[in-house]
Amino acid sequence: MFSIILTWLIVAWGALSCIYMLRCAWRRFPKRDVDDVIPFLYPVDISLAESLLDPAAEFEFRWKLQPPQFREAQRKRMRLYLELTRRMSHNATVLVAYADAEKNSQDPRRVSLASTLQEKAVEVRLYALLTRFKLRLRLLLRSDILISKPVLPHLRKACDIDGLQTYSALKVAAAAAFVQLPPEELASLTRNL
């Protein structure tokens, strides 16, 4: 009985996937070119993210503040990191779309750079998705009351992906992919990432 229910669920998943693909084919995929990247990026403060994930900073908070104040501060820090991961995720999505369009280029070097950029962007997106899920769950369940262990430093890695390291690698890959831009535009790209 259980296997039949499971089979039905898998068939339903397959059928829904077919419907989704039909919808994609109907809507078509919007191409994102170089002009549709820089204005769409949200700046991510990596030094702020580093400080939020620093175990010493969290220990200092715990040491200096009373438990209720510490919990309040932790919630604020978690919300802040949630916003940073949201921006990382958004930027990665924009760059994945751009890299997709670039992969159709005639120049093999551009294709190679776009592939690297897409690999890194997908990794960042995966990290951001998992981290956002964990953060939302912790914020929803108020797990800070129950767990006395540090929370944010544990979020540096998700599924073996170091979030900040991968995001830095994404920035380098983006700089390489957009190297033909004028200097001022390249500067705004690095600033916006």
């Binding site: 089979t7 077919c18 994945v96 998705l129």
Partner: protein, 238 residues
């Protein structure tokens, strides 16, 4: 019905083979190209021996070939997907896990609804259902990743997975549902199988009719000017 059953899929497969050769798809998806070539040859051989005693053996031997190549194609689809080549250790476990779950599901299904076939064909049927499960899993996982990771759906790996996924979903559905129809089962199964497979081949033709650039790793050294620009960009980032 009989002639349509033979001519439509075979004709579409030959057309697909032509499209694949024109798109140089053997460079990007060698396993899928091998699958289509095998399917065309196997279809032709089955057609030639359809009224002879050798048909039974030919059918099961070619069916084993379809299953093995079907699994290899699914491996190829997952391997070419961006993000699955990540250094993370778990990325290498995705495909073996999918295959194991597929086999487990097939065994559980055969246990719940035993088949009348015995001997080697019984194991072939179990293997075939496992391959169908793997194909649906890979397809559904890929489609789930499109909105989650922002991946582009219009690429060869998605096209291959969509064709197999649609066919496998319909086949699993007919297997679990049409058995309720009694004697009319065989006719309905035949028609559904024919239509689903033809639609799958049409999907592949559609996806491969637009050429996709080959990601080459054999790059020449960048020009000095490009290197300087690259260095400047890196310096600005620090």
């Amino acid at each position: 019905m009989n002639l349509l059953e033979w001519y439509i899929p075979l004709g579409l497969l030959v057309l697909l083979l032509g499209v694949l050769v024109r798109a140089h798809a053997y460079k990007v998806c060698p396993c899928f190209f091998s699958y289509v070539t095998f399917a065309s040859v196997a279809g032709a051989v089955r057609f030639l021996v359809r009224n002879q005693p050798a048909y039974y053996a030919t059918y099961w031997i070619t069916e084993a070939g379809y299953d093995i190549l079907g699994i290899l194609v699914m491996y190829e689809v997952l391997r070419t997907l961006p993000g699955t080549s990540t250094r993370a250790w778990w990325a290498r476990l995705i495909f073996p896990s999918v295959v194991l779950v597929g086999i487990a599901m097939s065994l559980a299904r055969t246990d719940a609804v035993p088949t009348r076939i015995v001997g080697l064909p019984h194991y072939m049927v179990v293997g075939e259902i496992a391959v169908r499960f793997v194909q649906v899993f890979v397809f559904a996982i890929l489609v789930t990743l499109v909105p989650l990771l922002g991946l582009r759906w219009r690429q060869y790996s998605f096209g291959i997975a969509t064709g197999f996924g649609l066919y496998a979903t319909v086949m699993l559905l007919t297997t679990i549902k049409f058995s309720d129809f009694g004697t009319t089962f065989k006719l309905l199964w035949g028609w559904t199988s024919l239509v689903a497979y033809s639609v799958a081949v049409l999907i592949w033709i559609w996806f491969f009719s637009v050429p996709q650039k080959v990601t080459t790793s054999e790059l020449s050294a960048p020009a000095p000017g490009v290197l300087k620009e690259y260095k400047d960009a890196l310096r600005r980032m620090r």
